[in-house]
Each structure stands twice: as C-alpha cells, then as structure tokens.
Symmetry: D4
Amino acid sequence: MRDLLERVADGDLTPVQAEAELAGYVTDDAGRFDAARERRRGIPEAILADGKTPAQVAGLASVALETTGRALLTRVDDDHATALESALADDHPAATLERRGSTLVAHADGYERPTLEATVGVVTAGTVDGPVADETQVVLEEVGATVERIDDVGVAALDRILDQLERLRAVDVLVVVAGREGALPTVVAGLVDVPVIAVPVSSGYGHGGDGEAALLGMLQSCTVLSVVNVDAGFVAGAQAALIARAIDAAGQRNGD
Amino acid sequence: MRDLLERVADGDLTPVQAEAELAGYVTDDAGRFDAARERRRGIPEAILADGKTPAQVAGLASVALETTGRALLTRVDDDHATALESALADDHPAATLERRGSTLVAHADGYERPTLEATVGVVTAGTVDGPVADETQVVLEEVGATVERIDDVGVAALDRILDQLERLRAVDVLVVVAGREGALPTVVAGLVDVPVIAVPVSSGYGHGGDGEAALLGMLQSCTVLSVVNVDAGFVAGAQAALIARAIDAAGQRNGD
Amino acid sequence: MRDLLERVADGDLTPVQAEAELAGYVTDDAGRFDAARERRRGIPEAILADGKTPAQVAGLASVALETTGRALLTRVDDDHATALESALADDHPAATLERRGSTLVAHADGYERPTLEATVGVVTAGTVDGPVADETQVVLEEVGATVERIDDVGVAALDRILDQLERLRAVDVLVVVAGREGALPTVVAGLVDVPVIAVPVSSGYGHGGDGEAALLGMLQSCTVLSVVNVDAGFVAGAQAALIARAIDAAGQRNGD
Amino acid sequence: MRDLLERVADGDLTPVQAEAELAGYVTDDAGRFDAARERRRGIPEAILADGKTPAQVAGLASVALETTGRALLTRVDDDHATALESALADDHPAATLERRGSTLVAHADGYERPTLEATVGVVTAGTVDGPVADETQVVLEEVGATVERIDDVGVAALDRILDQLERLRAVDVLVVVAGREGALPTVVAGLVDVPVIAVPVSSGYGHGGDGEAALLGMLQSCTVLSVVNVDAGFVAGAQAALIARAIDAAGQRNGD
Amino acid sequence: MRDLLERVADGDLTPVQAEAELAGYVTDDAGRFDAARERRRGIPEAILADGKTPAQVAGLASVALETTGRALLTRVDDDHATALESALADDHPAATLERRGSTLVAHADGYERPTLEATVGVVTAGTVDGPVADETQVVLEEVGATVERIDDVGVAALDRILDQLERLRAVDVLVVVAGREGALPTVVAGLVDVPVIAVPVSSGYGHGGDGEAALLGMLQSCTVLSVVNVDAGFVAGAQAALIARAIDAAGQRNGD
Amino acid sequence: MRDLLERVADGDLTPVQAEAELAGYVTDDAGRFDAARERRRGIPEAILADGKTPAQVAGLASVALETTGRALLTRVDDDHATALESALADDHPAATLERRGSTLVAHADGYERPTLEATVGVVTAGTVDGPVADETQVVLEEVGATVERIDDVGVAALDRILDQLERLRAVDVLVVVAGREGALPTVVAGLVDVPVIAVPVSSGYGHGGDGEAALLGMLQSCTVLSVVNVDAGFVAGAQAALIARAIDAAGQRNGD
Amino acid sequence: MRDLLERVADGDLTPVQAEAELAGYVTDDAGRFDAARERRRGIPEAILADGKTPAQVAGLASVALETTGRALLTRVDDDHATALESALADDHPAATLERRGSTLVAHADGYERPTLEATVGVVTAGTVDGPVADETQVVLEEVGATVERIDDVGVAALDRILDQLERLRAVDVLVVVAGREGALPTVVAGLVDVPVIAVPVSSGYGHGGDGEAALLGMLQSCTVLSVVNVDAGFVAGAQAALIARAIDAAGQRNGD
Amino acid sequence: MRDLLERVADGDLTPVQAEAELAGYVTDDAGRFDAARERRRGIPEAILADGKTPAQVAGLASVALETTGRALLTRVDDDHATALESALADDHPAATLERRGSTLVAHADGYERPTLEATVGVVTAGTVDGPVADETQVVLEEVGATVERIDDVGVAALDRILDQLERLRAVDVLVVVAGREGALPTVVAGLVDVPVIAVPVSSGYGHGGDGEAALLGMLQSCTVLSVVNVDAGFVAGAQAALIARAIDAAGQRNGD
C-alpha cells in the first residue's frame, strides 16, 4: 500500500491507475469502469456504448486505456466513434483504434495482446448476423484466442455447411450465430464433437421476429447446445474465451 | 325432392341418408356429422374423438358410415376404440376397421376409396412425431393420394436426411412433421422444389416445449414453408390432399 | 468448367455470371445474392430492402439483373426506389422497372417471363391488406402464374364475398390476406374446394393488433388452411407458386 | 327495523331472511350468498359450483332458495347435482329443479319468474359451445327475457347462417358464442343492427386453443362487438339481461 | 334503377351519391367509404385517420359529406385537421366542422342529426382517458343519444365516485373508460343497475402498461361488464349507440 | 465452541441443537431446515409442504420443533397433517398443533410467542382468498403482531368496505388479498395512510384467471402499493412482520 | 365554510387555495392537481411530466406550489425543465428549484420540509439504475426521511456489497433498485433484518430486457421482498415513506 | 464390411451390434437407439424415460447395453426402474444398475468407464434442484470427468457460498443449478474465472414459477453465463462434458 502511494508520488503511477489498483475500478463522471474484471474473471470489461452519450463513452474509454492499456466498446454508432477518435487524438495520440461494425477496440501504445493456445470458430448463417458475430470475434481476439470465421452457411442451402465441414471440425470451440428460425447451431452441433455456444439474432419479422423464435429453438435443440441471450455476441465470445483459457491452461499444465 | 322422399318411402334411402342429402349433415344425440363436407370441400369430415364420450364417438361413426360409407376418427383412446368396435359389430358387421396409433378408419362393406394421381411425402424427425404424422397419412390415403412415408430423419444427424434425398425429391408435395426446435421442414425445403407444409409437434420440455418453439421456428423459416397449428396432422393432411386433388385435376384436364 | 472459363475469356460471360454459375451465388459489398435459388427451389430470390441502405439495395439489384435477368425487391421505400432508378439508368439503361406499392421488379432488356398453366386467386379483406397482397401477386406473376386479384371482401359485409363466389371458385389455389380478426380465409375456405393459404396482416390496434389475433385465428380455423407469418406476402406467393408449378407440371406430364 | 324484528318474532320471517333483508347477504359455513344482488344490480346472484364441495354448494343453494325463492348454479358436476337433489328433498320438498348441461336452477314452491318485454338471441357456432350458451340462456330466462336459441351456424358453412337471417334480425339483442377462431360474432354483427355480445370459448387445440385466439379475434373484430372473458356464458347472459331490462323499462315508460 | 339514373341525368343526384346508393359504398383514390353502413348497422361509418395521409383523409371526408351529409373522423392529428379544413373550404364551404381532441365531425349545410330517446353516461377515471372517451361521446352524439359526461372519478379517491352516484344512476347505459389497473368500471358496475361497457386505456407504464392490465382486469371483473379492445372508444360508443337505439325503439313501439 | 460441546456432553444440548447453533441449519434425510433464519432475518423459517412427502414434512417439522421450539408449515394437505400428528404424538407428545386451512403451526411445550407492539390488518375480497390470507395471518401471529382480520369486502359492493373504514384506519400496516381483477388493494390504499401490501390470488377463470390480471392490476395501481407474487400469503405476512418489527423497535427505542 | 369564503374575501386565501381546500384538488387547463393527497395518503402528489406538454407541466407545478408550497415532478425532460424555470421566474420568483436527473422539486419561499425520525437506504446495482433511484430518494426527502444512498453494488462483485454491510444494516427500511437479472434485492434481503422493497429497472437487452427478467426474479425471490412495477422509483419511495411515517409515529407515540 | 459380416457369422458380433456398427443406430419396437452418438458427438446417448412405457424403456436400455456396454436413463419413475431391473435380471444378469433420483445407469459386466483429466463443479441452490443436478452429474461421471458436487448454497445466505469459495475456484468448469429467481449462477460467476453453465429449475410458484424467472434472469445475467433450457440437467452435463474433453485433449496434446 505504501509502495503504491510512493509510486504515485514518484509519478510511476497515475492517481487513476492507483485507484484502479486499489478499488478494482475507477469512477468518474462518465460512470464506472471495472479495471480489475479481467484479472478477476479472465475476460476484458467491455463498455456498452448503446444508451450512453458520446462524451461518456469517450471518457470511459480513456479510463480503460489508462488503467488496462485497452478499451473495448460494443454497440457504438458513428457519433460515439467520432467522439472517441478526437478524445484519443487529444489524450492518447499514440493509441491505435480499430472498428469492426459496431465494435471498437483501442490499444495503448506498446500494448501487447495475450495469446492463448486455442482456436474458436465463429460461424454465421447470413449477412445480418455479422455485427453480432463481430462482437464475439473481437473479445476472442483480445484474450488471444485464434479465431476461425465461417460466414454465410445458412441451413437453407446445406451444401454450404457441408463444404465447411473440415474447418468446423478443426476448432476447439464453436460459437454459432443465427437469426430467423435459428436452426444452424443445431445442425452444426450434429456434425462436430466440440462444445457449441448458440447466439440467437433479432433478425426476422412478424411473430418471433425479435429473436424469440431463434432463442426458443436453440433452447429446444435436439442436439447439445448452451445458449446466450438474443444478440449477445459479447457474452458468447466471453464464454468461449473462458473455455479457450481453460484449454490453454490444461495445455500449459501438462506441457511443463 | 319428391324423388328423394319416394326413395325413402321405397326403402332405397334411409331417413338418415335422406337428411344428409337434404341438409348436408345429420344431427343426432351424439352431435352433428357433416356428411356433405367432402363433396363441398374435397376432404373428408373427421370425427375428433378427444373430449367426446365413447358412446358419442361410436354414434357419430355410425352416422358417418351410413351416410358416406366411411368413418375417419382422430385422437381416439382405447375406450373410444372398444366402443366403436362393439358398435360396428352390432350395426355394421361387414364394415372393416383399421387403427393407426390414435387414428381410426372404418369402411362400409364394399366401399371403394377414390384414387388421385399424386404422391405426398410424409416426413418425421423422430418417433415422437409418429402419431401426428399418422393423422396426416390417413387423411391422404382416404382421398386416394399415394403416400411416401419417411421417418426418423432429424437434423441432428444430417446424413440420414441426405440418404433420403432421392425419395424426398420424387414426390409432388411434402408434409414435414417435427417437434423440439422444428428445424427439419426448413432443412428439407432447402433441398426440394415442391411445396412443403410444416407441422409443429408439442414434444420437448421447458420453455417452448409445448410446440411453441417449433411453430415460431417454422413461421420464421428462411426457406418457403406454410404452416399449420401444433399437432395438427389432420389439417396438414387435408391441405396436402387439396393440393393433390389440384394436381390430379390438372393431369386429367390435360390428359383428355 | 473449362468451358465456362473460356466463355468468360471470350466475353460471353461476365465474371459475375461465372461466379453465380459456379457457386450458386454472388458476394459483393452489398451482401450476397443467391442466383441459383430459382433453379434450386423454383421460386425467385427476393431482395428484402427493409434494413438495407439504398446503395446496398441498388447493388444487389444490379447483381440480380446481371445474373438472372430480373431483380425482385420487397419492402422498398422511396429512397430505395430512387437509388435503384439511377443505378439502372447508369448500368442497365435498357432494363424496365415496375413498382407496386412497396414491391419493385426490374427486368433486363429482352427478359422473358416464364408461364405456368395455373391460376392463383389473391384476395384481400380491406385496403390496408393491399401492400402485403402486392408482394404475393408480384412473385406469382414472376413465376408465370395467372393472378386473379379480388379486393375488399371483408367479412363484415358478407354480400361482397358472395358476389365474388364465382371468381373464387374458378382458380386453382387461393392466397387470402387479412388483418384485424383475420376471419376472411376461414370464410373463403368454407366456400371453395382448392387449397387456401392464409396471410395474417399486422393492421389493427390494442391487444392482438400486431397481427397476433389474425395469426392465431388462422391457426385455429375451423376449416382447412395453411398459414404463413404476419405480413409474409412474399412467402405466401412463393408457396402458391410452388403449388402452381406442381399443377402446371402435372398438366404437362399428362398433356404429352 | 322494529317491524322486521316483529315479523321474525311472529314467524313471518325466518332469521335467515331477516339477515338477508338487513345486511343484503347471508353468511353460513358454506360461504356467503348475496341475496340483495338482484335488487341492487338487476341480475340474479349465481352460485359458481366449480371449486366448491357438494355440501357447500347444497348449503348455498338452500340459503338462496330461502331468501330469494330461487337458486341458480353454474358449472355443476354430477356430485354437486346429487348433493343438491337430496338437500332439496329434505329441506324444500316442494321446490322444482331443472338441469341444463352444467347449469342448475331450483325454484321454491310457488315462485313466479318475472317477465321482460325483450327478446335475446343466443347463437352458437358448434356443439362444443353448447354448455357456455346454456349458462347465458338460463340467466336470461330467470330475468324473464324471451330467448331465441340458434345453434350450429359455424362460419365454415355460410349457408347455415344465411338460413337463419330472419331469426337473427328479429331479436333485440344477440349473444354469440364461438370457439376456435371465433369469427361467428363478427359475421353475425355484419348482418344485423342490434347490439352483439361475443363470448369466446376455450375449445380448439395447440396455440390459442385455450380461447385466446377467439378472444383476440373478437377484440379485433372489424364490426362492432363487446366481449366477455373466455367461457363467460353467465356474464354475457347477465349483460344481455341488463340490456333487456333497459328495453323493457323504455317500453313501459312510454307505454303508460 | 332507371329512376336513379334519371335522377342523375336530372342532376338531382351526383354520380357519387348514385354509386353509394347502388353499391353501398364509394371507392376513390383515397380508399373506400361505406356509405350504407349506418343504414345497415345503425352506426355511422368512421374514418380512421391514423395511418392515412392528410390528402387521403380529406378525400374520404369529402365523399362521406357528399353521400351521407356527415363525416366522422377518429385519431386525427393537426396535419389531418388542416388538410380537411382547406378541403372543406374549397368543396363544402357551408359545412361545419367540430374538433374534440383527436376526433373531428363535419356536417353538410342543413344536416340534421337524428335524435334517440336514451341517455348514455360516459365516465373517465383521469385526464389521460379523455381522448378515448371523446371518441365514444362523438359517435353517441351523432346517433342522437343524450350524453352525460362524468370525468375524473378514479378509484383512488372514492368520494369523487360517490359524489356522482345520482348522475351515474340516472342514465340508461354507461361507458366507463379507465387505464392503469382499470378498476373503475368494476366499482361503477357495483353501484348501478344498467349495462356497463368497459374501455381499457393504454396509459400506465412498465408491465401491463400498454392497457393489458386494464383489459385483463375488466375481463376478470367480479361484477358484470362487457369489454372492448384497448383505446377502442369508438367501438364502445357504437355498441352503446346500438343499445340506445334498441331502448329508443322500445319506447316508440310502446308509445304508439 | 468448547462450551457448546461441553453442553452436548452434559446433555444440556442435543446434537441437533448444537448443529443448528453452529451451522445455522440442520440437514437430515428430509432436507435442510434453517434454524437461524429467524435470528438472521427476523421472520420464522416456514416449511413449504407442497411437493414434499408426508414423511419429509414430519421430519422437518420435528427438527424445527427441536431447534426453535416451533414449526410453521404452509400448503399442507390432509396426508401431511396426519403424518405430522402421529410424528408429534410419538416424539413431542406435549407439543400443541393448530391448523388453519392449509397452514399448520406446532409449538413445543412451554414455548412462548414473542410480542410486537404493532397491529396489521389482513383484508380479503372474498371467501376464495381465505387460505392465502391465513398464511399471512399465521406468520404475523407467530412474530407476535396483533392481527385485525377483515373478510369479504370485495369492490363489487362498496358499502361493505366503507362499513369497515374505521377498522381499516386503526391499524399500522395492511395486507390486502384479492383475486379476479384485484382492485381491492387499490381502493383500500386510497382510504388509508399506512403502507398497503397487495397479494394477488389465482382465483378467476379464462384469460388472466391464474392471478395474472390481479398481479398486473396491483403493479399498475393508481395508488401506492407494493406487491408480492400470486398466492404468496406467507411472503406478504413476513414483509408485514418486518415492518411491524421496525415499528415495535421504534416504539421501544423512544420508550426508554 | 363561511370562514373560508371570508378568508378569500379578505385576500388571506387565493381562490385556488380555497378550491383546493374545499374540493381537495384544483382543476385548470393543464389538468387536475390533487392538493389533498398528502393529507389523505401521507405522501406528496407527484406530477408525471412524461406525456404532458411543457406548458401543462409548468401549469400544474404552479398550482402545486400555490396550494401545497411544493411541486414534485418526475420524468421531466429538458423542455419541461426550461418551461418550469421560466414559469417560476415569472410567477414565483422566490421559489427554489432542484433537479436530480429526471426529477424536479420546487419549494415556495419559506417552505419547510417535514422531518421523520426514520432512515431509508436507497441502493442501486449500477449507474443505469440511478435515475429510478433518484425518484425514490426525492420523495423520501420530501416527506422528511433520512436517506442513505448506496450505489454500484451489483452482485457480479460481491465484495462491494459486503463492504457496505454495516451501512445496509444501519437503516430502518431498504429500497433496492436493479435491472438485468435483478438479483441484488434478494442478496441484500438475505443480509439484513429490515423490510426490503425491490424495484426492477428496464435496462438490459434481448429477452426479458424490458425489466421483465428483473420483475419476475424479484417476485420469485427466495428471500422476503415486496415489489413495485418496472422503473417505479416514485412508488417505491412513497411506500418506504409510509413505512418511515409509521416508524416515526411509533417513536413519537412511545416517546411521550 | 465383409469383415463385419464374417464377425457376425462367427458369432463375434451379434446382429444388433452389427446393425449399430453399420447404421449408427438400432431400431426395434421400443423405438430407436443411437449407438454411434458417443463416437460422433463425444457424449453418451441418453434414454429419456418420461413419456415412454416401462417396456419401451427396458427394451431400449437392453439395446444400449448390448451395443455400447452402458445404458443411461433420465426421468425414470418407479415403474420404469422395476421394469428395467427385471429385464436386466433376465437378459443381462451380470450388469450393474445404479439409481440416483430419477436417473439410472446400467453397465455391462466388465464395462470400463473412460477417464478425463478435468474437474467439473456441479452446484445447487437448494434441495429441490437435486434431481436436475443428478442428471448433470451422471453424464459427467459417464464420460469420466471428476465431479465436485456442492449443494445448498442459495443466495439468501451468502456465507454458505463464501464458505465454498475455495472448492468453487478449484474446478475447470462449473454447472450451477437454481430455481426461483435463479440468481446463484450470476453470483458464482462473479467469484470464479472458469466457464459457468447455468441451469434454470422449474421450482417456484405463481408468475415465472415454471422456471421462466430463472431462465430470463440467467439470460440477463450481468456476468458471463451460457444457459440451457429449464430442468435440462442432462444438456448442461453434456455441454460440460464436451468442455472437459477439450481440456483433457489439450492436456494430452501438450503432455506428449
């Protein structure tokens, strides 16, 4: 404790970093960022931009960068992205910023991503499932897993799935993202022998079109699946990340 | 009209037959039987046994036999079947009686089934879908369509479906019956170019287990399906029968 | 295969057409268009404009025109239509473009629609059902079926239905489109002996006003109906098209 | 008040009748019977047998007979009926007892039913709607309205409704009882110019089969209806009785 | 028929009036207006403005004025009202126009409202129920019933209801409009002996806030009510109008 | 700790009591009983008999008696009660046993109930609400609150509520139990100035008849209520008990 | 009464105050304000700004200030606040105005808040729950309770809750506000022995994201909770205020 | 293939085993058993006894024993168990049979369970969750994972969870089983850094009591969870088994 305060006194540690170190999280006007979550849970804390103002989002991202070297944002719109870009230009000019659909990742200068010895397949049924799968992919890349992305293999044209059979069978874990009737995870799980996490998507129309048909279908699957909430690409990615970490740890345990 | 009454007077027509001829249906203590439905709608009137007493069911079946030469009963239990058997033994000793799961058909002596130049595939995902598919099959046989029954091709093991591809593609219409997540009609419809009617089944458990997951999934299908209510094997069969009749009629029209 | 590449080399085939020929579909920035769907399923691939940008819609329509000679778009708004018009003016100046409510069809110069020997009735209860029925009608016209459109025959004034009885009984298949309580398909199906496909519409207000009352009523119908999802005019049209194709095929089979 | 007590003392009034006169209702072990309801609300208090023991039902019926000269019971089963019969044999040997399906009415010796100058039509779609319509009919008869019962006019065979048009148009109020898709009240209301009260029935199966499809359809009706809860034959009858009373009163007002 | 055409030829009848006379309704670009509805059903045809363009609304109102001497519009916004005002200024300068909340009525010059010998109470629980009750009131005024409006008597302050007891008991029929928990119709129906029609309102928030709590509560009422859909002030008014007509007719019948 | 073991060794404490003292709860074959709950939460641990065998219930009741001097059981049927009676006869012959509907309380010989200086009103709308209110009353009596029970004051007859106004206003807290439309708590809360806890009851029929109408109505109340789940008489009693304890404590605090 | 009119005549009482005194509420163009509610129910009348125009809100606030010395507004947006500010500047220049999120309180010059001898804890799981908790806090402050606010103690990081254990156990009543899965009130109620009122918040996404998951979870809690509707911070505060008043009263009763 | 037939001819292989080897599954009168599922999916095929007759269950179990050396049955009742015991006594006298609640496992003589180098924690909130967790545990034991069972750690008494923290943190994967509000998986997932699979249980009562509250709460969890359907202990166990297999495989890969 004294040591920590001395490091602040010496300027080795900003007050913000010290607060995160001590309390596990930092609170400022934009809200609260849980800097210790990754250490505690093994998965990065994501900033959900939806429902926050651009200024709040930029503020939280700055705190994240400062305390963990990385900021991971989901469901950002153009205003959020613009606000973040200019905030970074001002406060963290050396940071890098990548956008994938509605997902954004910033890394502090010199940040090094961890690596995990595990491969996760991220599979979509159609174009509309892309943004949800992007959330999944980004969180997996941030924890260091290898991501194998397989798109556009909807069940209405089985040969596209069968064409990808080899790739589907080469990964350690699968996240399968599908809307409408949500049958893809069931069909995929019947073809492989690894855990499959199913993500229902709120595409579709009329009754069950808000993802309810897909969610119920995945819960009722006649194969073995576990499921996350509608459009919860981040949660699926984080759950796959925890499995990837367990696989990596087992490999290291026995590799010694 | 006078002619009809004279035929009654002559004993050529029973009063029951005359009533059916005149009013289109017969009313007795057991309820009302719509003898003219088949002529009017092209599909036989079925007697839904569920919720009726064995005596009521036997009574209605007798009326059906007397006025149309056939009785078609759905959702019969053992008590219904026993009551019907003894009623037939008494009143229609020459009638034949066939039971398929919870579906029963009796034919008067000398009854001749119509024939239709059309083949309907009736496909199930698993054993539990059998009784619903039986309803479908019976009504199709009664209108004279050729039925191609394909069982146990659930989507959890795709090779079983692919093994049946040739048979699936050889029919004019398909009725696909499936519970749980109800993905089979979607997968099948992606493989063929004939109309597919989907029937959700109330198997399963937990949320959506009363057939809701299957029904919503079929309504949301990313292929082209039309759907009937949960467990409505009879309705699907009748709808397929109407399509089969249209196909048969077109064949005859042009066959002349 | 070599032949195909040679045709590309000779300029007989554009690279886009070759891709569609080989893979069954074309992928560009606007998404994916399944050029082989019509061959595989017998019904044209429609481009759902709702949720896509005008540029994406115009892009996909261009691909469709180039590979299949036709582009069929549903749920287009004015911006989509304008974008498409100017894209066609630039890239396909000889193409024709027709708009019916929120449905658009473009044909390449010299495109010839197929013809099917079958008539489908498309029936609406009220003005509000028009746009949904238009989707149905357009897909039927594109596959070459004869369409008999009967509007404004809601059940609140039975004489309007009875006035149309002759027309209703002259077709091979019926698609009946109705919102609010959705009783029209039931009443119509009681008057004819051809298959009736029911389409619930999301008109109405208060409880069940999003099409739920109509959908449930159609699933519970005391006559024989098959049903599609709320506002699914395209799906109903495609299902009717498949039945029309089966009828046409039967006629040709026996006509030889 | 003194007068009332003197009448009890003189034996002109039983203590039970006095309690009912004073408090408006009588409480005994079987529960509470609201003897003043008819005076206050114009409709008889009904005893809902469902969920009560045979002894409780018989006890309440005795109180009703004693205080109002009549007992009206709904949803009785055979045990309730038997218990009531023997209770009446013991305590009210001169009372009369009528059963109509699951509805029972007992009248004290010499009881005279009121009469109302108004006719209410009670219409059903099918046999299964009978018991619900019986509740409606009994309460109407007890208030003295003329009841015109019209059965079995389901919308699947329109000519049966049209055959009854004259009778439908001859009444002052209509109660229309229907299950499954519940379209009959809508069709009837389009043919008449009197108030129509719609009663959904919990027949049917699968989704919406518990009366939900019928209820939603009636709430969404494209004609003018008011609606009661599923299977609420008694409530519909009581509401029609209040309208009949208002009609009767208007007639008397101006008849003077 | 000839007579009608001669009146057109003589200019006694516009072509629009002749069409309405012959077909019962008039169809123009703005849609269809059912001019014969009032004669057939006893209640005026209302034009639902919501979802129509100002021009369509103005067009339909002109047709209504021309054929029936009156236009009744519900759920109008300011744009609809402005469009209608200028249309009337142009085409029907002598017509009068009244707006009550979102309800509008126009009368042709010299139009005389019918009168009915019946009084209907229209009761609201709070200010938010006003616009729904206004629809009820306008339709009642148009058929000629006397309307007794009683506002702001929510159940949270019982004394306000009790203060109005005399007025509540002086009418022939009651329409009670309430949102949130919707208890007012139940409380009112316990205090009077006339028919009460309950209208749930979509005020409130959170679960059941879209009128579902009020609708379910009214369907479950422990008194006798009939119910219309959420916010269906027009339907409740029309149903009350039919009852008022029956009362008026009975009075006239016996008054002779 | 040593002290405790010595008391066991001396026979001052049974092993069961020691386990409860140490771990807070006792586990035997019948399940787990949380002896420390009352100390920790201020409300007695109740044994929910529904879903347990008579033997399990008797076993848990014995443990409860032994460790806390009292056993409180909810939703017991006759078999549970009989099993408990004979278990007590064998093991705790001096214990007393009281049954109130489906609620049972046993007290060890010499047990003294606590007393709280606070009065709670328990109000029901009708007879059917009695068993739920009994649960509430029993838990309140066990914590020592004074209970004022007011029955049969349903909103359909307002004068009964108004008759009880004085008693309603004399208590410190109110629990109001009502099924069907559940309006009673709203009406009562408008008449008093103490906290009202509302309990929906699963009486009723048709839509919303499982307590949903009452629950939604209470959540939407236009007065101030807090609510518990359907039929949760025990939870409401326990919540009222906690309020009564807070009132009692405040009295004692300031009474010193 | 005469006295009151004389005070108006003397100018001691404005006509508005007199109306409030006499009728309990004041009605002007902006609607109705219930000035007597606090006296009758012990909790201040709040003006729900949502759904009202800025002018209406300002008008009602002026009435409130004039008759009760205070105006309490919930769910105000910036336009409401601006309108109110300028209205106060004009009409009540000495009044003070405080805004907390979407809640506003104005006090007339010299207004003195009551005080209650009771402390209420207001606990939130995350930042998103703040505005709902603010409503709770404001109403509690207005009745004079001491508020202990504890923020950001979501169950995903138990140590934050455990860190606050002492503060949680020091209050008389708790209001716990939580969205998503809504587990916080259950966890808190297991740690304290005072009444806990749970408020579900409509944060979250996908299924159950509108507060339904939280509401159901709180109704199903395995500890003792009472619950209010989704986002009903004001109702929870008012209910806690009534409990605080009862505690305060008990203290004063015994303090004498 | 020839080899296989020769082994049948030689009696090394029964015809049943040969059928399983060839087709992957065996069909007899009792239904179909998928003998190849374990090889294909890595998880044993379970026989769901619920809904099958005792004879069917015994028949399928015999087939399972014969083809895979093991039979795993879920949701068995006493009749199923008795039938199976006598079937084994007759046909497989050397087989062993273990019952855990409603789960049964039989092993052929000499059967050796596989082993996996991975530990799975199976956690329950209360006694009522036991049978669901037993399904999970049995499937995990059958694939050879080490199971760490932790019972009775419901969130209402946090110290019991905290007492188990070390055990919770020592496993590779967690399955957490909870009913009512289903908060336990969320609390546990906040304390560990391994994947947590949540299983909602259909305990509870009133609204959300069929497991819906728990399911929604788990889908909405503010930590990272994946979820299976209500009561789906087998599915959760199978998913955990697939993760355990992946961990084991990684260990072996790197262990070489």
